[in-house]
Amino acid sequence: MPDKVQEKRTAWRSGKRGIQKAVLFVIVLLFASSFALPIVLTMTNSFMKEEEVVMDYGNVYGTYEEAAGGYVSKEVNLKFIPDKVSLRQYETVLLLSPEYLLKFWNSVILSVPIVAFQIVVSLGAAYSFTRFRSRRREGVFFLYTLLMMMPFQVSLVPNYLVAARLGILNTYWAIILPGIFSTFSTFLLTKFMRRIPVSVIEAARLDGAGEWSIFTKICVPLCKNAMVSVAMLLFIDYWNMVEQPLIMLSDKEAYPLSVYLSTINTGEISLAFAVAVLYMIPTILVILYGEDYLVDGISCYGGIR
């Protein structure tokens, strides 16, 4: 094709491309803003004064005027910008009522060990599923996949009974131990490990390395991406868990923050937004930190078996 025609064609194409891009951009922008809406709302509302929160949202919970000590409007207003910006909510939560801080620490004590040890345990299992293939093992892997899919109600009460038998009820172990052995990370890490080219492993074996050294020197370092992304997902999951602590722990002061948040929503809605924002901050930071790992890490989950 003559060059000129080629150029024209390309030029016309890129022009069309430009419009296409702009249209797409607008669509995506709209979409994204509707996604971000609830979060932005929560954040801006956290700067409201307590009375305003009650006034605007009280009707949803059937809060009565006398109980709320103020005016509750019949219609529920969704406000983006508070009438009066005030840090009162934060002040109350952070400085005046120490419950929040104690519960925060409880949440950390629960989530971090679960995430850390689950990954450790799963690495071993993933390695074994990768390296040693047999029908039996595939069956076990299938079992793991199934266990991963069960909703928690299925196992909640039996876990309680098992914990009672083991005598660890009302301690954090009753939540941490089942968490450590959850099969979710095993599934993800196995998928990842199976992508490691067999040739690398074979080469190491020919060099005379034993299983353990292959594991520690080759597989684990290669999985760093996946480990971080798995850790992120797990952390978010366990940071938000509510039912397990509720039933396993009877000490009110041992509850993690997620439980506190759910009770506050039915009790004092005035603090709900501030607590929610403070509660979101660790998860936001974790995501921002690990976002790239997430993308890199999961690229391989869909990988070939």
Binding site: L96, S97, P98, E99, L101, L102, F104, W105, V108, V157, Y160, L161, A164, L246, I247, S250, K252, E253, I281, P282, L285, V286, L288, Y289, E291, D292
Partner: protein, 733 residues
Amino acid sequence: MSKYRYMWMGMLAVIVLWLGGCGSKRIEFEEFPGKNYAAIALPLDGMEMKEEIAHLYSGDEEIFFDTLMMGKEPEEGNSRFHFYQYSWMNQRPEELPISLDSGEGVVKLTGIDSKELALLLQREEEYTIATYDTNGTCLFRKSVTEFVNQLDNTIVSFKMDQEHRFYCIGVNRIFIFDETGEMVHSLETDGVFGDCFKGEDGKIYVEDFDGKTTAVYEITLDKQSRKKYADPVGEEEEWNKSRIGNCVESVRWDYIQMTQEALIGVNLRQRKAKCLLNWQDTGVNPEKLGGGFCEISENAYAAICYDEAGERSTQLLLICPVAEEGDLEEESKVVITMAGLQIPSFLKDAAYRFNQTSAEYKVEFKDYQGDASKLNAALMQGGMVDLLCMEGLSKEHYLKQGSLCDLNTFLANSTVIKKDDLQEIVYQMLTDEQGRLYSWTPGFVIEAVMGDRETVGEQQASLEAIQQMQSGLDEGMELYYGMDTVTMFRNLMQANLQHFITPDGSHCSFQKDDFFRLLQLAETFGTVSDEDEELSMPQKVQNGQVVYVGETISDFLDIMFYDRMFGGKPAFPGYPAYDNPGNFFSCYGMETAIVEQSEHKEGAWAYLEYLTSKEYLMQYCRMSFFPVRKDCIDEYINIMSATQPYVDSLGIQHPAYHGVAGYDDYEVELGALTQGQISEFRTLLDHLYMPPQLEAEAWDVITEETGRYFAKEISKEQCAKNLEERMALYLEE
């Protein structure tokens, strides 16, 4: 975003450390000590019989001082005050010759080392500070009215420190006076201040309860400020909710605080708190210790306690450790666990007393406070629960799963109570169609709807008649006193549940006219006006402004009162219902069952027996509910209808009965129980009905759907349809 990865990580680390650091400032709570406390009632010879004890003060030095206390005798609209020093050596109160000016009332008593009393006196609007020594000499007296009134305040609490400075805690100000009575300071505060006390370091602290949390402020004179400490007891929300009374001085701690479970000692600066004793082990119900509390020495406390009727504080208790041998007995007792969603205090009190009298068994509580899933999990664990308090739980559910034990065998073999001893109506209400007895209660009350016999007739009016009456009402008249739409509907629903839900609880049908009629009837009631009523309910009844009154009848005094209110001719027709069930029978929250799988059924039964023994019911259930025993009811009738002094079967002498009862401002003398009233009571008992217990969630569904109808958001057909759908799901589960 990835460029800032380290920044995010850093922020996260900082936040975690900071928050975690704050969190680690958590209070060290030391656990309960060993169980070796007892509460001993102290002899009070020397104090007047009619006197109520108020205020205790025992000094705050290491040395054991005699306790200052004050007796208050009501006298013709005023009170007379007597001051005593309780001598621990002689075990008796010794009166101090202190006399006050006439008309002066004591707001607060405090002292220095219990050698010198300081009093804050009030006569109408005038406040005076006065100090006396134990010989009765007035050392100092100064009026501080001008300062207080200047800022329109009321004094809530009062303290004197070693340098004779006086601290008056007002509602939003703290006044500090020096030893000459001149005001040194007045600190403005923005809280609602509570009591003040002297801390371990000699400084004065003030507690401030703003309705939600308590903080403790240290008052610093030189800096003219107050320094705030978060109150450790208040930090744990649960403790905060269960606080009783104010902070009290202590020798070893900054202060001690009573809560519903324990006595807690707090050190503010070291952020330490220790549970000093567990109320369950002392056998004292802490809610009865409202009159005053003080620490006498290490491990020993004096407390002012309400008398048995719970009306006046006339008992002084000494709470102190007992000898070690008691421990061994305690340890070997079999533990019976009672679990429930909301265990009433009558059962808890009875358990304290049962623990003290029983040699083999000890009852402990697990109050789950509304969390039914934890209760069920504990039941499934097996071996954890022996007694189940049924308040808030659906008996049918547990029956279906075979978790409740039939008590007929226990009843047959019991020496304390037999089936014939029970009032028939009780046995009827608690047994099912096959005659099995699955729960037990020490008493019952009646939720009745009453009216004047001439106006409303003996029989229960039908729904149409009620509707006609409602529409034919004159201005200013009320058909049912104090009923608005929501409450009326709830009552109507309760009276008619079996009309809509089959007895076995498997089907429901709401889409019928009967339901619509209930809705319409309830709608006509509108809302209750909030204005202050000039006339009280009884006055309205007597004026003829109110036709029906729905109230709880819990003892004979109520019967006498309502009988008098309706001019001696009351009728008890109950709520209008299709099947005419009558008035409601209620176990007042005390219905308890024994768990079938429990291993300590005899112990559980022993406790239930104790609850319904004649001695216990005669002593403790007076004025709270009707006892289930026939002989107790007969005795009460005898006592209350006695026109001459009467000795009951337990040998206690009762004077001629003269009842006094009131409702709001309306008070009336009732005399003794008459035969007519007794027969009214008996007929009332004949026609009772126990409404089926729906769980709170089911009521929530009903309230929600009908609420939307009453708010005119949906039509009544829609409401019925929604309700039927949701209730069907509920019942199917």
